[in-house]
Symmetry: C2
Subunit: 161 residues, 2 copies
DNA sequence: TCTGAAACGGACTGAGCCGTCCGGTTACAG
DNA sequence: CTGTAACCGGACGGCTCAGTCCGTTTCAGA
């Protein structure tokens, strides 16, 4: 790939991350292109549709989440491991409108199974330790993550076992 | 007002309620008109802009919330009064995408002060009774309402004093 | 330096939407 | 029954946005 192409691709992805995070999924491709300092034709050459561009941004964010979840598993204390990830994920949602608005789309992304697996382990461990309420599945518990973007500690209090 | 005009106005408001609740604020005026069985010119004669139509729908929903809050105040038990309203409000958000997406717009509506006043009383009473945590203001507590649309009891657990 | 392939970006198209307008229709009073 | 004022709805204009296309520019290897 030519150097200028790579540079522009990086700029586009960076701009798209910022734009979607700040303005949600309805930000126009032109806005992204403007922020990246390229014409919007350039954006469409790299990403065949706006949706593909959004997917790239979401995938990047999910990658980060997977790392956070796996880091939580290395924590000795089961509750601290779970709560740390929960808080971090909640903050991720708080800083990124697109993540919230495109929740459904996220479910289709390839890194989702990985994230789910790590999240299951975090929840299972904390439940087995008696630190986390047992009347909810992992999936249900993580439905609360977007909700927790504002006052995570209140929700975590409600989740204690 | 002529009888047919009144009938169409009712239909339009009803259709708008359903459309905005199901599809959020981005539903087109044409969709509302189609569901109401009128041309979209008829909608714009009653409501000068789409925003005005949305306001009418939101106002209707807020009116319902005010009644719910005032009903909560008649409850003897302070916690039950608060929690009942909290749950009902959360369900209102769960059944109505527009309420969530147009949160900011709701704040500008004339019935908001009334709702706020009733909500303040509910919270104050429950806090004074020691049933509700005291480290959050009423406003902060009700920021959690949309979040609670999924698992209200978990959030209520977290809110107990 | 030279050259051709790759990349760029802005003009263009078509679709969807908001809001206007006017010719035709309908309800209702007399 | 009839005249008319109110009402209806679809055609239309202007706008924004996604996605395409092609003339022009830039890069990188020979």
């Amino acid at each position: 790939m030519r150097a200028d192409a790579q540079r522009n691709l990086d700029r586009v992805i960076g701009a798209a991350c910022e734009c979607f995070a700040e303005g949600g999924v309805d930000v126009s491709v032109d806005d992204v292109a403007r922020r990246a300092g390229v014409g919007h034709g350039t954006v469409f050459r790299r990403f065949p549709t706006k949706e593909a561009l959004l997917d790239a941004v979401l995938a990047k964010e999910l990658d980060r989440m997977v790392l956070l979840a796996q880091a939580g598993l290395t924590e000795d204390d089961a509750w601290r491991g779970f709560a740390g990830f929960f808080r971090a994920a909640a903050e991720g949602y708080a800083c990124n409108r697109a993540l919230l608005e495109a929740k459904d789309r996220c479910r289709e992304l390839p890194q989702m199974p990985l994230l789910q697996k790590a999240a299951d382990k975090l929840v299972g461990r904390a439940q087995k330790a008696g630190a986390l309420r047992r009347d909810m599945t992992a999936e249900e518990i993580f439905e609360l993550v977007p909700a927790a973007s504002r006052f995570p500690d209140v929700i975590l209090d409600g989740l204690r076992g």
